[in-house]
Structures are given as structure tokens and as C-alpha cells.
Symmetry: C2
Subunit: 338 residues, 2 copies
Amino acid sequence: MAKVTIIGAGMMGSAMSVPASYNHNQIRIVGTPLDEVIISELSKTGYHITLKRALPEGIEYYQFKDIDRVLNDSDCVICGVSSFGVDWFLENVLPKLDENIPVLSITKGLKTDESGNMISFPEYYSRKLPDKHFSFNCVGGPCTSYELVDKHNTEVAFCGKNMKDLEFFKSILQTPYYHISLTTDVIGLETAVALKNAYALGVSLAIGMAEKDHGEESVPDYNAQAGLFYQAVKEMSKLIAMNRGESDKIAFGAGDLYVTVFGGRTRKIGTLLGKGIKYGQAKEMLKGITLESIAITRLVTESLKRTNKNPEDFPLLFHIQSLIDEQQKDIPWDSFTY
Amino acid sequence: MAKVTIIGAGMMGSAMSVPASYNHNQIRIVGTPLDEVIISELSKTGYHITLKRALPEGIEYYQFKDIDRVLNDSDCVICGVSSFGVDWFLENVLPKLDENIPVLSITKGLKTDESGNMISFPEYYSRKLPDKHFSFNCVGGPCTSYELVDKHNTEVAFCGKNMKDLEFFKSILQTPYYHISLTTDVIGLETAVALKNAYALGVSLAIGMAEKDHGEESVPDYNAQAGLFYQAVKEMSKLIAMNRGESDKIAFGAGDLYVTVFGGRTRKIGTLLGKGIKYGQAKEMLKGITLESIAITRLVTESLKRTNKNPEDFPLLFHIQSLIDEQQKDIPWDSFTY
């Protein structure tokens, strides 16, 4: 039994309490300042208002102001913030945290270094805190939060530099439905799963295009979706190789891409853009929805430009960027061929 | 303008007449003995009874008995038989065909050689006809026949040994909606796209399991589907490498897997098996539907056993085989981790 402290009461962070609870760990969830209402309701009733599900019994809930009561009395910390919370976590949590307590982060995304090269969040944290020696580990792979709460079978990977820490996290989180691979190929896994948000938007364009051309009740346009899926896997593989990840991580990227196309937020924006709605208007229509797909597209296209990579190797990603920039163009289908 | 003769009036073979017609080629469709009714209706009305769509005007239709009227008066031949028709094509068409007429085959599948190693259909044809020097080329990639007829955007690859022949086929078939890559990596592409039938059955198991566990109207179980998709891409990549294909062909395999999960026949049998229905009964329920997924699963698992490969590297494929053999087992989720 381990003392597990989850920071961030968003959907995925909170969902991690379900496999953690299965293994009889002592679980605390500490909300970020954005999670006050969620924590308040959880404290009273155990019901998570955005997951729309009750969390397991026996969890302790804390508002962020009370983090010091539990943070360093933990055997491990799960960082449950989204990619938009990475700097907040860096400034508000890590300085307080004992460096001997290993961290597992559910955040998917990438950062760039001063030269514009893509780096993983663990790498980013380490560079920002050169005097501390944290063990940063991450979760990747296809997992929708509410399905994890419902104990559906889920295949993920944990990555980090230290296999012993990875095995520790696996020992406290592995369940009959949550299946965990372990890898030290951090940049490979993180590149694969960060990019899926961008490319799921790309695949969803075909859904919107079919609705525009043939009506919402039409037969979905699977050839076009699959053509974009093919190109997405091709570009993701290139990006994994470019970042010096191992090529086999594309399997997690492809699985994560699959689940994200069906998953909600990213599909919505992609479908709207595919219908020909301009980005500004689409963003208005989805008010309140955080768009990691947009952020990662911008970050990666800018990195590729700054590091003088050939945009023609990534025509789908740059097409998505052109839609975000409201430079409406047709999908460059022929540039996907060789 | 080229004289294009399509042999086989099934759905995909016939669909190839649509891009061919766009480029003003002279098109003939010669039915196999199984296609008599289809050809008869096409001759009268131009309507394809299984595609449920009219084919382009100006096509000439022939019953198989009349093949000699056009076969060798062709600039190229498109072989439109399914994998179950490969030996028929070998015995009934190729002996009559001038070896200078290049062949493009839409057939997806693999054969084994005398040692049990997997070989592509072009390789199989060449070995069976050692005295002839045909140019055999194949189509791979995600393409549903009726969507091609409807001129939806479609990304495919043509593979063959001779780039000049590939470019010829591309010149007569490329259209604004049919996008063609060219590659000489025949075994890589053919392995990727042959295997998608087996693995689409695998991914579909999760659809049936969710319906069994939660009712047909339930939220689909995307984590489990995506977990199986991940494992499928992993095993397909290993098989491509084992057959000495190039690793980038997994992009076509993943795209083809995606379209096949949504495509019909294979999804149906996978869903039934996922519900726990035994193979014999499921086969009865789908009477008349040809099951290439079953054939390719059997061929590849037998090849792996005969060539002493480790079945533990392909736990999903062997699980599918165990369902076909009616040895009911749970999905071996933990064997997908590493």
C-alpha cells in the first residue's frame, strides 16, 4: 500500500484514482485553483461533476491551499494537469516537492528548447530545475478518462529514465483492466502521444467534409478518414524518428489517434473545420473547451520551421496549421503520395 | 488513352473502372464464372447489382467465355479477383495472357512457399509460372469500393518491381480523388494490407464485447478498441519486418485497418465473436459472406508455427485463431504489454 497524491482534479487525473484505489493505496486528490468546485463536490459527495461519475470510496480531497498537508507525506505524486498547466505545476508544486518522491505525469504534449527543438515534459522540468533530481515519468497510450473510471480494458505505457521507478508505478496502478507497458524511450512515447491530438483533428476533417458535402445523415466518408489516418501515421512516425524516439512507439501513437478521433473535443473542432467553418468561429462555438490539438499543432509547426525542417515532409500538419490561421485551403491529398 | 481490361466484376475490381474511366481509357470488364449475373445486368443497364451503383458509361462487358476477344488486345490488365480467386486466375487467365501486358492486382492476401514462409501474390504467380516474365503489380491501402465509385478521396499505393510499369498504371488511374503512391517494396505493402483483415477482426472484438456487457445502445468501448488497434499495429509492424518489408508501410496498414474496422464484413464477424458467439454459429449467421479475415489469420498463424517463430510475439493474432478454432478464451490483454 502506497500513499498516492494526485495533483489536479481534472478528468484524467481523477480517473487515475480508480486503478490506484483497486490496489488499496491511500489516495489523496489535491485540486488546482481551477478545480475548487470539483473538489468541493467530491469532498461532500464523492461525485465528480465533469466525469459525471462517483470516484472510489476512501479518497481524501484537498483544495490547493492545503497541499502542504499531504504533498511530502507521499510515496509518489501523480501530476494530473493538462498541457496548459505544465508551467503552473513547475512553479507551484515542484519547488515544494521532495525530490525523492517520484512523479508520474498524465500530461500529453511537448515543449521546445531554446533552439526550437522538441523536448518532452520530463526533459523540460529537468532543465528548468537543474539543481533537483526528480524522477519524472509519464503515461502514454489510448485512454479515455471516463472509460478508465468504468474499468474498461485499457492499454497504456509508462515511460521514464529509471526502470525501478516505472516498476513501482506499475505495481501500484496495474489492475485486471489497466494494462501497463514500461519503456525508457521517453521522447519516443511522448512524441507519439502528444502528436495524436493534432492529427486526430486532421482525421476529423473528413467527418466534417462528408457532412458538408452529403448531409449529416450521410454514409461517413471512411476512405477519406482512412487516407488522413494513413498520412497521420506516416508523419507521426517521421516526427518520432526526428526526435530520436524508437520507431515501435508509433503503435501507441496510432492507438491513441484512434481513440482521440472518437473521443470528443478534438473531433468536434476538426469536424467544424472540415465543414469549412473558420477557426475563429469554430473556437467560439466550442467555448470553454481547451484545445490541446491547436496548441500542439502550433508548437510543432513552429519547431519544424525554426529548425529548418522541410514542411513538405509534414503536409497534413501544415495544412491543419493553415486552417488555424484561417488560410482556407483544400486538403493537399496529392502531397500525401510518393 | 489505354485499353484496360478488368478481370472479375466483383465490387473492388468493378470500382477500378471509375478512375480508369475518368482518364478516358477504353475499359472492358470481363466477369469470372461467378459474376455471370452481375455482367448480364451491367450489359443491359450499366447498373452493378452488388455495388448498388451505375458504372461509368462506355464500358464494354464480357462474360468469361468471351475473354479471348479482348484479353491480349489490352495495354494492361487489372486483376479484380479476391484472395479466394488467386489460383483460378493463375490457371484460367495467366496462361492465356501475353507476358508483355502488365497486370495490376487488387487482391489482398499472402501465400506461403514450400518452407512455410509468407510470400506476396506477385511472388506466388512468378514462382508458379517460371517461364513467363509478367510484370505483376498490386494495389494496397485504405479503399472501400463503393466510396471509390462515389469519387471520395482515397489514398492508395501501387507496388511492383518495375517503376516504369507503376508509373504507367498511375498515369491511367490517377484522378483528383484517387491518390496513388508508388513503391517497389512489394512484400512490405502486401504484408501490411493483407494483415489488416485479420486485425480488423481483432479490433472489432471490443465492439461485440461492449454490446454483450453493456447492451447494443451503450457507449462504445473505445479504450478497448484502441488498445486492440495499438496491439494490431505493433504485430503488423513485426510481421512487415519479419517479411523484410520496409517499416514505413505500416502507415498503409494502419489506414487500411482503420477503414476495415468500419467497413462491413470483417467488423461483423469480429463483433459476433466478441459477443461470445462461437465461430461455427457466427459463420452460419453471415452465410454467403466471404471471410478473407479468417483465411489470412489461418495462413499467417500456420506460417509462424511452421517457421518456428515465437507465438508470444503475436498474441492478438493467435487469440483470433483460437476463437476461430472455438477454443473460447478471454483477450490476453496483459500479453500485449512489455
